[in-house]
């Protein structure tokens, strides 16, 4: 799956995560850190997909489950489960994902952006689709699904 390392201005870097059978890409500029699953303290009365809070080197950071956010079944954590710490408007939040696969470079021509439909909340979660060889990666709109959760 090795991609040609292109660092010119018309490429963007994404981290590819595997969620069940599907692949999603998160723009690397949002990503602060990727950590292994650790003990999560449940927060009562929080939305269901907000799994709880963790201690990341002395900081309390809320974490959400991508599975539950997308309305999928909860699965037990495995060896590959990771928490991706992203920063949205200055605040850190963790996203629990099944597996982190790789970092890819996408040229603008490899990406197809989705025209936003403001009436469909789910559509806001996705910013487009990227083509990697023959595979398709759904590109997540981090601000879309995190701000909505507020």
């Amino acid at each position: 799956m090795a991609e040609t390392v292109l660092k010119s201005e018309d490429t963007k870097q994404f981290i590819v995560i595997k969620q069940g059978k599907e692949k999603y890409g998160i723009n690397i500029s949002y990503i602060h850190n990727i950590v292994r699953i650790q003990s999560i303290t449940r927060v009562p009365k929080a939305p269901k997909y907000m799994t709880g809070v963790i201690n990341l080197r002395g900081e309390i950071i809320p974490v959400m489950s991508l599975r539950l956010r997308f309305g999928l079944q909860a699965e037990p954590f495995t060896n590959t489960t990771r928490i991706i710490i992203v920063k949205v408007s200055g605040q850190a939040i963790g996203i629990i994902v099944d597996e982190v696969e790789e970092v890819i470079n996408l040229r603008d021509t490899d990406m197809e952006m989705i025209i936003k439909d403001a009436t469909d909340e789910k559509a806001n979660y996705i910013s487009g689709v990227g083509k990697v060889g023959t595979e398709l990666v759904t590109l997540l709109n981090i601000e879309g699904f995190i701000v909505v959760s507020n």
Partner: protein, 674 residues
């Protein structure tokens, strides 16, 4: 010219002077003939003028200049203080405060005009004096000019300076390399306020001209403003004495520059009789400044952000200490060290906390003025009594508590106190009293706002609540008086303007409550119809680190702030009674509702069928509740951290803390659970 680094000093000092101006004016209103007060007001205005001029705030300096003109006439017994004049002066004060606010926001005094005020001040002056004099006075914008006065009344103090061997060596070497060595004494204008700022500019100019060898006082002292209005120095330069002198004279507020070629004065010179006299009178002249310098030297202004950083570091330290405590170790020496560490972290925490503490006076100070304006506007006579101004609170709390207090005091004056005729009819003193009291109570600071007005008419509040649909008829029947009073804190209640015609309060009380709760405090009301009401605010001493009781509920750990815990009871399950389907216990004659935390915290589990349950009795004001927990872990010092803005809507959790083993425990918000 870069003066931005002095802007903060300017703002802080301007605020202080405005405050003292305010206090003096209020006192002057009571005793118009007090010479000391007039002098005080004059001095404040004068200092402000100088400061504003230094920073280039023209409008402020013109306004203060005109205030000064009027005040100076009063000082010289040419004019009398009257109500009209005081009103104008108060307006001037407001205008100045406006300028300072603007400066805080934009670093600029803005375009706000005070011509009208200046005209009023002029008119006042003209009424008393010959017109010709005024025109001359007003036309003169002083504080900005740098007219040199005759040099001969100033001593060339650099002649008295001595040099060390090293400096002498440097000087002689510079001479050998064809540099000119100068001894310079610089006098700043007496009106110069930000002296260190001026000195800074002078030193910068000198650095361009040549190299500074020595200065008296030392450069550091000059930067710290530890000098009167003059300082002396030796420099070596390629430039001529005239050039150096003219460059220095070009700097604003430099009044006199005495410059000599250094030859012959390097040795310790004799001090002439005349110079001795001169320096004596210098000292006399500057005693004022000296006293000020002596008191300010003991304090340092620190950016609050640095204190926050320090506090965060202390928090980290406490977390690590808690972590060490959980390490299983039987080594006595290790445990001794841990205990020692604990003592130090606790002391360190106390020390840092104290640094952050500010007397509540800062907030209280503005209330006499508020009451004065309120009384005039409402045509009531109001007397304000304040006690406990010295009570200290965390700086963050001080910054936030002002607005809620203003609300409460306005309410007391506006809705609480009756108009004088009604008061007399009810057999009360025509003068209404508002009392503001602050004191420390254990880990809390209590602020009370009380009035001897009409109190809250509970029946009318109830009727209004029913009318507005806030409560149903049955609810209205069942509600206790205290519950009805609490309706006033509901948002829906306060938005209505109708409420102000109920003798009670209303406008913005929900905002007051929200703000105080956000600070970790709570508010309650005591009222007696016809006698007055009292709002009691309770605030935590510190926001960041608290003592808490750690408890287990199922397999989760929670922290309950220790200051809200009254005691812990073992309760037999048979002793639980039911009132209106709610579980209660009878605790030594008092009925206390039981709160099943597992249910409220959505912990799913089977009933464990215990016969005796552990109940933590917590209190919030007069209200009590019993929290049912599985077991107690113990008391612990915890660092409060927020859950962040993605989890703000969870009301019953006040925050989270990191335990010794790195796990996160949530802190229960007693205020919302009781």
């Amino acid at each position: 010219m870069d003066i931005s680094q002095y802007l903060e000093i300017f703002i802080e000092e301007a605020k202080e002077h405005l405050q003292s101006l305010n206090t003096s004016l209020l006192a002057l209103e009571k005793d118009a003939n007090d010479k000391d007060l007039i002098n005080e007001v004059f001095r404040s205005a004068h200092t402000l003028k100088g400061m504003a001029a230094t920073m280039g705030f023209k409008k402020m300096s013109v306004l203060t200049h005109n205030m000064e003109n009027v005040l100076s006439e009063i000082r010289n017994d040419q004019m009398q203080v009257d109500v009209k004049l005081l009103d104008i002066l108060f307006q001037c004060l407001d205008a100045l405060e406006g300028y300072v606010e603007k400066i805080i926001e934009t670093s600029n005094e803005g375009d706000g005009d005070s011509d009208a005020l200046v005209a009023q001040l002029d008119a006042k002056l003209k009424a008393e004096m010959e017109p010709a004099t005024i025109i001359k006075e007003v036309a003169k914008v002083d504080g900005l000019e740098s007219t040199p006065t005759a040099g001969d009344e100033r001593a060339a103090k650099h002649k008295k300076m001595t040099v060390t061997d090293f400096e002498a060596h440097a000087l002689s070497r510079a001479k050998a390399e064809d540099y000119n060595c100068f001894g310079i004494t610089i006098y700043l204008a007496d009106s110069c306020v930000l002296k260190s700022a001026r000195a800074f500019i002078i030193f910068r100019t000198l650095e361009k001209l040549g190299q500074l060898i020595k200065s008296t006082p030392a450069v550091q002292d000059i930067e710290d403003e530890k000098f009167d209005f003059d300082f002396s120095l030796f420099i070596v330069s390629k430039e001529s004495a005239e050039k150096v002198k003219s460059d220095l004279m070009r700097i604003a507020e430099v009044e006199t520059v005495l410059i000599d070629d250094i030859e012959g004065i390097v040795g310790a010179p004799e001090q002439s009789e005349e110079e001795k006299k001169e320096s004596k009178s210098d000292i006399k002249k500057s005693t004022d400044t000296k006293n000020k310098a002596a008191t300010t030297n003991r304090t340092v202004r620190v950016d609050i952000e640095r204190l926050d950083t320090l506090m965060n570091l202390v928090s980290e330290l406490i977390i690590i200490k808690n972590g060490l405590e959980t390490v299983e170790n039987t080594d006595q020496n290790f445990n001794d060290q841990i205990e020692y560490l604990e003592r130090i972290t606790t002391n360190l925490h106390d020390a840092v906390m104290k640094v952050r503490m500010v007397p509540i006076e800062r907030v209280f100070n503005r209330f006499p003025r508020l009451i004065r304006d309120l009384a005039r506007k409402l045509d009531k006579q109001i007397e304000l009594n304040m006690t406990g101004e010295e009570t200290e609170l965390d700086r963050t709390v001080i910054d936030e508590i002002g607005d809620p207090l203003v609300h409460l005091i306005r309410n007391s004056g506006d809705h609480g106190l009756e108009i004088p005729s009604v008061r007399i009819k009810n057999g009360k003193d025509a003068v209404g009293h508002v009392e503001l009291k602050a004191y420390q109570d254990g880990n809390n600071v209590v602020i009370e706002v009380a009035d001897d007005g009409n109190g809250i008419d509970i029946a009318r509040v109830k009727a209004k609540a029913f009318e507005k649909g806030t409560i149903s008829a049955e609810q209205a029947e069942a509600m206790a008086d205290q519950e009805i009073i609490e309706l006033l804190f509901r948002p829906s209640f306060s938005t209505s303007d109708v409420i102000s015609d109920v003798s009670g309060r209303g406008v913005g009380l929900d905002v007051v409550k929200t703000k105080i709760e956000a600070l970790g405090g709570d508010i309650e009301v005591e009222t007696a119809l016809g006698k007055g009401s009292k709002f009691i605010i309770r605030l935590p001493l510190t926001l960041a680190i608290i003592q808490a009781l750690m408890v287990n509920i199922a397999d989760e750990k929670y922290a309950i702030p220790l200051n809200s815990i009254q005691n812990i009871e073992d309760v037999n399950i048979q002793d639980i009674k039911y009132i209106q389907n709610e579980e209660v216990i009878n605790l030594r004659g008092q009925v206390v509702p039981i709160v099943r935390l597992d249910g409220i915290l959505e912990i799913e589990r089977e009933d464990d069928g215990r016969d005796v349950i552990t109940v933590v009795i917590v209190k919030k004001g007069d209200k009590k509740a019993g929290f049912v927990v599985d077991s107690l872990i113990g008391q612990q010092e915890i660092v409060i951290k927020t859950l962040g803005k993605f989890l703000t809507s969870i009301r019953m959790i006040a925050g989270a803390t990191i335990l010794g083993d790195g796990e996160v425990a949530l802190i229960l918000d007693v205020n919302t659970l009781v």
